[in-house]
Amino acid sequence: MNRAQQIGDKILSVEGVSLAFGGVKALQEVSFDVREHEIRAIIGPNGAGKSSMLNVLNGVYHPQQGTIKLRANGAWKEFHDMDSHEAASLGIARTFQNIALFKGMTVLDNVMTGRNLKMRCSFLEQAIWVGRARREELEHRRAVEEVIDFLEIQHIRKTPVGKLPYGLQKRVELARALAAEPTLLLLDEPMSGMNLEEKQDMCRFVLDVNDHYGTTVVLIEHDMGVVMDISDRVVVLDYGRKIGDGTPEEVRANQAVIDAYLGVAH
């Protein structure tokens, strides 16, 4: 493997997380860990609890049991449940399964909102505009343009996102997440609904992001070809339980995983 940044130590560790909505047990005692700079995939049949897992990681859902340990700025922090604002400020960014862009805003504004936690000026300074607020705005514009260049969306930067085709919207959402300079990037089905070419582009971007920025990626994906090709390690969920964990080869050979996907004769 010739990556710029080698896979390092654990950066995130999920221990015994259980989440229930009334009687529906979405996650039951799920534990796994994520290492720095790796691409970690979460797979599983529909309704296995993959999206719920991501929602727990960045504080949209609050699990009833379990702990989440995150290494941010060199120190371990332990959480029973995350708060989404806190998760964002600790460097967790994500994209959504159903695109969650700000439809009325341009691509540039969408990506700029990704940097909101780095903006320091008060609204009064912004209203007056001259001086610090203007400098700050231009400084962040420069950083945002780098992300826009990286994901090759320069030509649409002034277009309202509502007018863009689906594949590009997915890319803009990735750009918005990257603008926050995350240490941990959660991607919820980044390739769903795409044709082969768009999928190849997206895979290239995910690998490039991981390689260039050293961002740790946790992704959910249904396309097994993609998962087996780009991920370093895979977690398999089924009915809210973890049934497999390991390298793509190990997971592919795991009988429980094969049974979950293909079914078993009773």
Binding site: V60, S84, H85, N116, F123, Q126, A127, R134
Partner: protein, 358 residues
């Protein structure tokens, strides 16, 4: 000069982030300001200034305030008139009880009082959305009017609840003629509109729009929901409060609480719907439409009856005006649900290519 940006290259982000990136826009805005500040006070007559232009500016400011809340931050509100009432009556109290303060600081303090009321009545927005929130803001409308009529000190114990605005004096200069009042109103509105434009194109404005478009994604990105929504209520109410103070001081002169009924809130809501939701320009266009169209219609009918020699009874004419006015509103909403500001946007895009079809 054709309206297009061909040949205007931008080589720095500073140039690209200007308030009006296209040169023709800058020229047009400069011309408009010159006309509004110099030509209008010189040539417009008393009637135009005090009965049309001053209310137009004040309603534009109120519509701008509501547009920040509803158009940008996506929080529906029917409390606009109440925030204006807070501004008007608090400005009266500040000028009355603290005369050393000066008029402009009193207006600003009155706006801040309205902002405080806005924050209190914006609290339900943390849990409820859309039409339900609009109903919750109705409480503000009724509470504020009730408080003004009930608590004597607000109206300085005036038995009928009517207050007479004091004369407006800034640094020994008295704003008493329509020209001077117009200039004062125009200056305040122009400055506040500029501040709003700046705010809406920077981080605060983006946070407002993010909350409007997709609140879950906004909070995941790290935008604090509570702070953003309450800030939207505060800024919007500040604008409405200042508009209310101007309404009392440069337009009406004597104000009764009944001037700020739900009816007024609805009028301002219609202004932003017709003008363009989520657009600074739209606030002005909408106010212009709602205020100028009835006047234009009555002039038109006057000219028509004069030209044809027909004696149409006055009651018929005033009803006809209302019917046509209502019809035009429906027509505009069907043809362009995004408001007049969107029409202007489309016209600009067409002008870019004109006279070539592609």
């Amino acid at each position: 000069m054709l309206y297009r940006e061909a040949g205007q290259f931008k080589s720095t982000y500073a140039e690209d982030q200007q308030i009006f990136p296209i040169r023709q826009d800058r020229v047009a805005v400069a011309l408009l300001l010159a006309v509004a500040f110099v030509a209008v006070p010189l040539f417009a007559n008393q009637y135009w200034l005090s009965a049309i232009l001053i209310p137009f500016l004040i309603f534009s400011l109120a519509a701008l305030g509501l547009n920040i809340l509803t158009g940008y931050a996506g929080q529906l509100s029917l409390g606009t008139a109440a925030f204006m009432a807070v501004g008007a009556f608090m400005a009266y109290n500040f000028v009355l009880r603290m005369p050393w303060l000066g008029v402009i600081p009193s207006f600003i303090l009155a706006g801040l009082c309205a902002a405080g009321v806005g924050i209190v009545f914006g609290l339900p927005s943390l849990r409820i959305k859309g039409f339900y929130l609009a109903v919750a803001t109705l409480a503000c409308q009724f509470f504020v009017l009730w408080a003004i009529q009930r608590w004597g000190w607000i109206t300085n114990n005036s038995p009928s609840g009517v207050i007479a605005a004091q004369k407006v004096e800034i640094l020994g200069y008295v704003f008493d003629t329509p020209q001077r009042k117009y200039l004062l109103t125009l200056s305040i509105v122009a400055v506040l509109a500029l501040l709003a434009k700046n705010l809406m194109r920077s981080e605060t404005g983006r946070a407002f729009m993010a909350v409007r478009d997709m609140d879950v994604a906004a909070s995941v990105i790290g935008i604090p929901m509570m702070k953003t929504k309450l800030l939207a209520f505060a800024i919007s109410s500040f604008y409405c409060g200042v508009a209310g103070a101007l309404y009392a001081y440069t337009y009406l002169g004597t104000v009764e609480p009944e001037a700020f009924t739900l009816d007024l809130s609805f009028r301002i809501l219609f202004m932003i719907i017709i003008g363009g939701v989520g657009s600074i320009l739209g606030s002005f266009l909408g106010a212009g439409f709602i205020i100028l169209l009835p006047i234009f219609l009555s002039i038109l009918f006057g000219a028509l009856s004069h030209a044809t020699g027909m004696q149409i009874p006055h009651s018929v004419i005033s009803n006809l005006e209302l019917i046509i006015f209502g019809g035009l509103i429906i027509f505009f909403l069907i043809v362009e649900p995004h408001g007049l500001a969107r029409q202007w946007q489309i016209a600009k895009e067409k002008l870019r290519l004109w006279p070539f079809p592609h």
